[in-house]
Symmetry: C2
Subunit: 460 residues, 2 copies
Amino acid sequence: MVAEQVDVVVVGAGLAGLVTARQLTRGGRSVRVVEARDRVGGRTYDRVLDDGTRVELGGQWIGPTQDRIAALAAELGLPTFPTYNQGENLLDLAGRQKRYKGAIPMINPVVMADVGQAQARIERLARRVPLDAPWDDPRADVLDSQTVETWIRRNVASRPARDLLRLGVQAVFAAEARDISLLHFLFYVHAGTSFDSLLSTARGAQEQRFLDGPQEVSVRMAAELGDAVWLEAPVRSIRQDDHGVAVTTDRGEVLGAYAVVAVPPTLAGRISYDPLLPAARDQLTQRMPMGSVIKVHVRYDEPFWRGDGLTGQATSDRGAVRVTFDNSPSDGSSGTLLAFIEGAEARHWSAQDPADRHRVVIADLVRYFGRRAGNYAEIVEQDWSTEEWTRGCYGAHLAPGVWTAYGPALRTPCGRIHWAGTETASVWTGYLDGAVRSGERAASDLTALLGATSAPGSAP
Amino acid sequence: MVAEQVDVVVVGAGLAGLVTARQLTRGGRSVRVVEARDRVGGRTYDRVLDDGTRVELGGQWIGPTQDRIAALAAELGLPTFPTYNQGENLLDLAGRQKRYKGAIPMINPVVMADVGQAQARIERLARRVPLDAPWDDPRADVLDSQTVETWIRRNVASRPARDLLRLGVQAVFAAEARDISLLHFLFYVHAGTSFDSLLSTARGAQEQRFLDGPQEVSVRMAAELGDAVWLEAPVRSIRQDDHGVAVTTDRGEVLGAYAVVAVPPTLAGRISYDPLLPAARDQLTQRMPMGSVIKVHVRYDEPFWRGDGLTGQATSDRGAVRVTFDNSPSDGSSGTLLAFIEGAEARHWSAQDPADRHRVVIADLVRYFGRRAGNYAEIVEQDWSTEEWTRGCYGAHLAPGVWTAYGPALRTPCGRIHWAGTETASVWTGYLDGAVRSGERAASDLTALLGATSAPGSAP
């Protein structure tokens, strides 16, 4: 195993790392991407079902104002298509099931008024959170001292309205309202435009899907980078001195002028650093846990719910599966329901027997879509909390006190080590678009640094 | 590097790990203790100052009902002596400085009534939290949905009273009231008898010190264990199968029937496990961050504050140093003030220039104890957040949502891997006594398992 010298060693071949590497390569810099898995794409991961259709086991959607992932996909020639959204949605709340059209369920007007005023207040508070420095919000001290659950209990009167808001939080974070700092919630909402946008299909974060699957974005970038990408090369340690970095992987050591670590913060914190990282950075990564989600795809011979005038989108305050989508192929040649098990339900069901888990998933789908939902052809699960190189999805969340105490450590480079990954984005953080933006930022920062220190190839 | 076979491999030579190893050894079992540092004692660590007196840079006190550390110290022949507590304490609150005797400062009676009712409610709520399963508290859902800060703001009217309670939380956890779940706070209080007990010197958790220093407890146990303790052997990975465990350290691999991991949870989470640990365990260790504390010892030729009728114990709502103690040698032959920088102040000051940090420490001591505090002979700091093999002190705390979602994963063994360390104790968790208790529990559990499976020495 011979050490080598590149301009930048990129840790992680997810979207963020590959965007970093691609942009640097295009600027004439040499890179080496080291990836722990035997595949690229990180939290995007597609799989072909028995009938040949492709489903998205990880991050999958793209929506309005997600301009950087859109531009990248367009450049790579990867088209998108609308998430199936025709007909009525289902709401199963407080023991009653309703069908409704559009984003707002027509339930009890008192409840809807309660939800409406809460959402309006959320949007108003969120707009003021500075995206580059949430800790600079004038009310940061108050907002970062409480959980979202505390805010809900104090500001929302009716129980169904509270449950609807909790569901919204679970759907966005794959965590519970009690796990999350109100300041972090508001920052995240602002970074994704609005709470309404995060929750919406039409004109929202779930608007479009990738025809060839979202992982293909990474696959294409990796193909461009060729031999520069090492798979099955988990990083164990990173040394640095005044001259460069040495990244030790299971496939050998890579030397570079700089490193970009583009993995979830909790995994970045498990790498051994020499010299040690500053206390603020280490204590930050002790405080950025990943959410909990199991994505379950259930395939049917046809998308039968469409014939019933249903979008396939259900929301419920009970059951293991509380959010569903129609994840059928674009031509509707077969039918696939995407059932999300999120937050507390995911933590519980992760440890259960698969057969039991399948049973409750199907029971929930039958409750939403009728008896035909019981007659499925295939079921495929992806439990992100059991993935060694992710350890939870969709992303990291921050408990109270973390932004105000440790915020600046999220992006501040530690010597020659820079940080990327969707958690480090200030726009669309937690989304594919945030991952792309974080990679672009890291590449720009390093281009400036490399330009200032040495010409390409002139290693110190 | 030849692999070997022992009954139990113990990871970590702090109090918990050494107690585990000692008890197993006395029961006729073979052990190997692997320790990352070049010393034993973990979060207990003593140092001899220039004048030959010893100071405690880590955990240091022992108090009533801490029976297991007391028994161990007695058995090892290590005497204790009372923390200096004669005279009056200082309280610097809301811009005014008061002297008072005993545990309760005589300030504004309205404020004292406010603090008193809050503390009474805390004690009442805490007594109900089940020590072995805080998540079983009938009100766990409500208590684990909010921060301590939320509770203080809702239940304490006056600002000085709120500040006093926040100070109490900082002093106990080296973290802020906003960082901590109310349920965790109440559990911790119950585990240490009462909030009053945690905060008190006389008849409280700060009552006694070790004449030879607390680290000596570990040094004596390690001496008994002899060659069974490997220093400078950080553990990188643990494999297990039906027959045993293989623990890989920088000094080689150790094979055993079982392993006990007796390091802080956040460090246990950085070890690589094969097979992977269950999601619940990994996600738990993503959610148990360490507190932030810098212990500063300032030595003087004599304990001059004693002549002024002061105990050396000051409490303040401002400054870098908000809690102090007299940490002079038992014979008072010289004077040492112990200045705590805790929580948010520690996070800030950890990153500053040492000279600047020393300046603010001394300025705070002068504010409390007068001009003579500026005339010091020696200053020694210990910043636990910069220690690679601790990464913060005093211990781990839990944010809202963690106990209720992940509680059982704290002590449940993962196959042949068991867990010890003060964070796993249900009595005096976070204290020396909790560490001893956790080691005793782990040793008992393993003795039962080993007895049931094979006689000592009869390796599979």
